[in-house]
Amino acid sequence: MIEAFRIPGAGRLKQAKTARFSFDGQAYAGVEGDTLASALLANGVHLVGRSFKYHRPRGFLSAGAEEPNALVQIERDAARKTPNVRATVQELYDGLTAQSQNRWPSLSFDVGAVNDIASPLFSAGFYYKTFMWPKSAWKNLYEPKIRAAAGLGVAPDQPDPDHYSARFAHCDVLVLGGGAAGIAAALAAAETGVRVMLADEQADFGGSLRFESGARIEGQDGFAWAQAAVAKLRAMDNVRVLSRTTAFGYYAQNFVGLVERIGDHLQKPGRDLPRERLWQVRAKRVVLATGAIERHMVFADNDRPGVMLASAARTYLNHYGVAVGKNVGVYTANDSAYAAAIDLKKAGVNVAAIVDLRDNPTGPVINEARALGMEVNFGRAVIRAGGKLRVSSMTVQPKNGGGERTIPVDAILMSAGWTPSVHLFSQSRGKVAFNDETKRFVPGTYAQDCISVGACNGTDGLMATIDEAYAAGTKAAKDVGAKAAKSTKPKIDASESWSRGMLGAAPGAGPGTTVKAFVDFQNDVTAKDIRQAVHEGMHSIEHVKRFTTNGMATDQGKTSNMHGLAIAAETLGKPIPQVGLTTFRAPYTPVTFGSIVGHARGELFDPTRKTAIQPWAEAHGAVFEDVGQWKRAWYFPKPGEDMHAAVDRECVTVRTTAGLFDASTLGKIEVVGPDAAKFMELLYTNPWEKLEPGRCRYGIMLREDGFIYDDGVVGRLAPDRFHVTTTTGGAPRVMNHMEDYFQTEFPHLNVWLTSITEQWAVIAVQGPKSREIIAPLVEGIDMSDEALPHMSVREGKICGVPTRLFRMSFTGERGFEVNVPADYGQAVWEALWAEGQKHGAGAYGTEAMHVLRAEKGYIIVGQDTDGTVTPNDAGLDWAVGKKKADFVGIRGMARPDLVAKGRKQLVGLKTKDPKVVLEEGAQIVGDPKQAIPMKMIGHVTSSYWSQNCGRSIALALVAGGRDRMGETLYVPMPDKVIEVEVTGMVFFDEKGERLNG
């Protein structure tokens, strides 16, 4: 296909290679360096999408990031489908495939366009009005329909095959925006030798120099100067230059988030290249050089394809060599559209007429337009655009009314003036100030170490911009300690300058009219909608915004906010500053989830912690469960065994011979110092001062409020040294809790805490044969009951490796926990396993561990307690030192509610039918025949089938539970009511004889 609208000799893509692409299945050719937008325009294609609400045909409004209309779906393959890509920033590559969105069955005939005819039904705030009744319709009709209609494009249904990377960086001066101002500021700072970063969202630096044909710097075309200057910056060691990089968020203390697009413009992105890279930059100084965005004119049917910003038309011509039409009209309220008209005219495009809303403007561009023979009309307005799928005419009328005249055109270039891009400044918490003379918000009060320069600061003209930017770059460098450098401020030879313009609805779309004069193209908000919102009582701009959704689309109202504000202010009869601007929020332009996630996916989503013994368990067929970040062996099924069979066997093996269990994940803290015992006294309910070195004690830790926080066995290794164990899940927070109290409440104590969780692998050997299994491997420790009684600890060696050998039990059997340095964990386990095999021992997992401890009524903090259980509630009064004067939680424990009668207490439950296993979490009632809602008096906390007991067992928290021994209670389930008897918590070996058995 021939590019009918590419003008020979125009633009900067002269030597470029052809790039073939398709749009909605139609094949086209563009050239490398094009955007999808410029390539389509070169082929005469303006119609590229349908609007969100009314399904109106839409074309290109802009040539940049502010684009609200030309949103397309880019598809590389089945898994790489990106919706809502702005065609104006998508760089063309050979083979690009794009689809239009929000249309069915086709872009030129879209059934959804019926919404346009029915638009009175979809007026401002229709979401809030229409779907209120009948209530039942919400769930079945409205919500599904709204969800189906919400959003544009189709999200991919496969995992994203691309990868994304992330980088933290620091610099002295971060310059955001790579137009003339940004480049000048970066040059000034870089020349002093400080660390500079310069980022721009475009592929090429230069900003508005891309279209400003009147700019000449250092004797060359402005854009060419920009390329040379950036090349110079790139060559400097102290400068990092990032193109295709958008600063999307400005956070506290000059922390800026940028996303660098690496793969989206390439035909075949390298497999090793990330698609995008997230930069999180901490800068000592930030220079904001974010430019300004042109506003459209608000008039009837100003959204017809072919109606676009004047600067966009100029960019397509001067950069891409593309004419947006053959016979264009111009509608403006400032000078800048004249420059576009002049450039197009010089390139051979007919300019049908310039319509200027101003009464008697003067200036060189106006003179030049006239000199070129263009028809210039002052004090007139375009009151309507004709055409549907493409603009075909503009209807002109004197601005105060009068005869209409319709002029055939195939494009309308419009300019209502320029809005400084204060988005990042606003995100930095800076306060904007309204300049009444130029009718624009500019940076006012700064909240961070940043400075705005150039158009985003309301500075007009290249000369003033370069002066300001260069000075700002120099000052920023000086502020961070740089010495003055030899100044080489760029010399401006020629420049363009414009300001002013108008805000709000143009004639023909003002109060009392109902035409579709769009303010916000992406969300289909018209001037009428804004006025209606005010009439319906929305007097705050924040309310107007939400009621109309003006500025709430993904373009964040880059072109619409100021118009919307002006119309609201006019309707309210208040000056603009009194109505105020809505807050700008990150992201400046949409950011992919991928770039935020970065490396944190797959294996790196969250650390998977494995013990030293994990490889053995894996090799022996263990099924694992996640406990926090840890993988723990859950059970070890033999061929043909299901989970229940495996757990039953493991439980029986432990009680008949012995079992090996990997307890390495238990939290371990070494508490060291002369005041270690004093510290333990304060942190735990138990007494510690009198615990002999070499002995252990079960300790309970409370929070200040008197509720159980954690528990574990603590061994005293020496008068000044304790080996504390915590629950697996509690390890980090218990360490923090102890450190917190030490630093804030007990800093006078000479004691230190060190996490040793990972220093030691822990092998529990539990069961009647446990001593026989361990003893042959141990050196230097007397294993007799007299020398090593239950609840004691010794240091020695096992398999020649240092060990802390605990005699302790979480099963009720004779038991040991062998601590060895983690690197030796697996080898010592294997040695113990080999010994165990001689006795018929087996390995057991966490499920059997849970059952075995429940058979003995040992609690698990976090399962049988829930943060509202006191030691007394849990039947652990014996572990509270009655003579102790102080410990964390002692006063909390004495609160009236915590000593009141009828509190929920931990008890055992036996089902009347021993085969029925209760569900954990099930509620308990006293009378199953009472009316619903029943009074619930407790719930099941732990419940298992116990092969050793030959029946089901359960623990439960029941109101006044210990006074209900022998009572029958009921557990109502969806299909039946289960009868249970309240019992003690110990189901097996009630006398505890097996600890020494």
């Binding site: 490396h599 650390p607 000044d720 060190t754 690197d823």
Partner: protein, 193 residues
């Protein structure tokens, strides 16, 4: 102090094999290499100001007092981690725990040789690799050779030591070593860019 932990029974050759995490793992990418380092002796040392001189003497290395610094001598490195906290590394198989056991001045020395795994990150892109997940400024001005810091990498805590202009030692807890090595491997792919 510390006698119980440091107590040595008669030297017996371990019959159990030492299997350090990720032993010998390496990765080579453009501009950066990763290598899991051999086991080292390590202690976590806590002590008040008054004990620093005695401990420095016993350890044979002057404990640094300035934040984010380290001091190295004869295969032993002391890293400042806090006002009263040091990580002491010994790569010459000399047990610093035994040296501290002789010191009567107030302190806490806890053996953590097996708690940590060390990964060397070397090459011109080493800093960029680490900066994929570590927010610290790793320029030579801000983080010179010998600089040390307890910081984060991605979602885990690490101790970072700069051993040369283009070389770092990353210390992490044993069970996080897989995550750290994988993270650094991913980052290394991107760092040369």
């Amino acid at each position: 102090m510390a006698k119980a932990a440091a107590k040595k029974t008669a030297a017996v050759t371990p019959s159990a094999e030492r299997r350090p995490a990720l032993a010998g793992q390496e990765l080579s990418a453009t501009g950066v290499k990763l290598a899991v380092l051999p086991p080292a002796e390590r202690i976590s040392l806590r002590a008040p100001e008054a004990s620093v001189a005695a401990l420095s003497k016993a350890l044979g290395v002057t404990l640094p007092r300035k934040p984010k610094t380290s001091v190295a001598k004869a295969g032993r490195t002391a890293l400042w981690l806090g006002p009263d906290e040091w990580l002491v590394l010994d790569q010459a198989a000399k047990d610093p725990l035994a040296d501290c056991a002789k010191v009567t001045a107030l302190h806490s020395a806890v053996g953590i040789s097996n708690r940590n795994v060390a990964i060397a990150v070397t090459g011109p892109a080493a800093a960029a690799t680490i900066n994929a997940g570590c927010p610290q400024d790793l320029s030579l001005d801000a983080f010179p050779v010998g600089a040390a810091s307890r910081t984060i990498l991605g979602k885990v805590e690490i101790v970072l030591l700069r051993t040369a202009a283009d070389a770092f030692r990353v210390e992490c807890w044993r069970s996080f070593s897989d995550y750290v090595f994988t993270f650094l491997s991913e980052a290394a792919r991107d760092a040369a860019a």
